[in-house]
Amino acid sequence: MPSRELFLPQQLSYTLLRLAEQLKEKHENFASSCIIGIQPRGIYLARRIHRLLLDENITLPYGELDVTFHRDDYKIRSPLLPNATKIDFLITDKRVILVDDVLYTGRTVRAALDAILSFGRPALVELLVLVDRKRKRDLPIMANYVGIEIDSLDSERVTVEWQEIHGKDSVRIETRSF
């Protein structure tokens, strides 16, 4: 399968640092902010960003959200196995930073917005993604913080891998084999 890395070595860590800096710019002291990773793949990025902020002594609540039961495509393809949702703080009046690895059709984010509302009424919801496959949206959804913007075809697939589980960091675009 032909594939191409989207980041040079080292470049990914600069991008993550930049995303953390952008959050600091917008959230000042993070007094009422929280960070929530979307299961299953967004949690690794969320944990990295949370870690980077923690390294600078910025503490904010961290949660993980599974959106399986809020998806609308279960009649089209077989359902995914649900992952754990872990949000042990109140969402109400919080500034929520939703985190996912790739933004594509926007349907996962739609489901996540729906899911987050069953935990309360946030003051604000923002979206942070590593890869924005722009001009591929099915819904009017855009990210507030973007690692990299790319043009891509439907036949292509973006895969994000993390040191923590896959052994190395890798963000690549590959042409799907049919």
């Binding site: 039961f69 809020h70 279960y74 077989s78 995914l80 196995l81 754990a84 949702t85 729906d114 069953s118």
Partner: protein, 310 residues
Amino acid sequence: MARSQLSVKHLLGIKELQVSDIEIIFQTAAQFKTVLERSIKKVPSLKEITVVNLFFESSTRTRVSFELAAKRLSAELINFSASTSSVKKGETLLDTVQNILAMKVDVVVIRHPSPGAPHFLSTRIPAIIINAGDGAHEHPTQALLDCFTLQQKFGTLKGLKVAIIGDILHSRVALSNIWALTKLGAQVRLCGPSTLLPPYIESLGVTTSYELMDTLQWCDVANVLRIQHERQKGNYLPSLREYHQYFGITPEVLEKVRHPITILHPGPINRGVEISSEVADGPHSLILDQVLNGVAIRMAVLYLLAANPS
């Protein structure tokens, strides 16, 4: 990302399920259980689905549990009970169901006194059938929730020693539990009076005993069953008092056993017959956990079956 497709289109019995199906159901139920602990206990998963509860026999727990499960998933729900319907006027099962299906129903949850009624429907009507108890045959969601409750407590069922005590002969809960427990690797012993233990049941990979004390010394878990008067056509017992003396689970009996025994009971309880109140409400009883887990298990079953792309 792992897909969660079940190998079956209907839930007719545990016998037809594969171990991987049970694992998928448990994994999904565990997440639904967390949904039930939120302040908003509802997800929109099945908002396009209509479920009918078709009960030809009385029920409290199972029916309310399925009703709650469907509503928590945002499905539409119709309740049907045979005692107030045209079944009284002589309508057949197939006609009743076909008429209800003509009103566009996706899932039929059926309880029926005849063994095999759900299987019969599954071959004749284009809807998803879930068996909520068919005669003395199977009660799959009860077995799933019993095993799920044990898995949550013990982590795994492998090697766990489970005794099923009481009226095995007339119990669909016993049969479904035997299938589920043995598939998940538990050891099963059946215990009851000789008249209520069916012959050749050992062929299902279980052991039997007529001695309550022996069984309790052996087991980690006792799943206590009710004497099913309504299904008993002969004289199987001299009296309920005698049954209580020989097979009733009381604090005095449990005191003689050196280790703590986890108590399950599918309900309804006949207090003072198969189990005393002190034990049913005691610290080792998981009876109310079973009820909560029942909703999560039924949500998982409804979700996984209804969410299968046709």
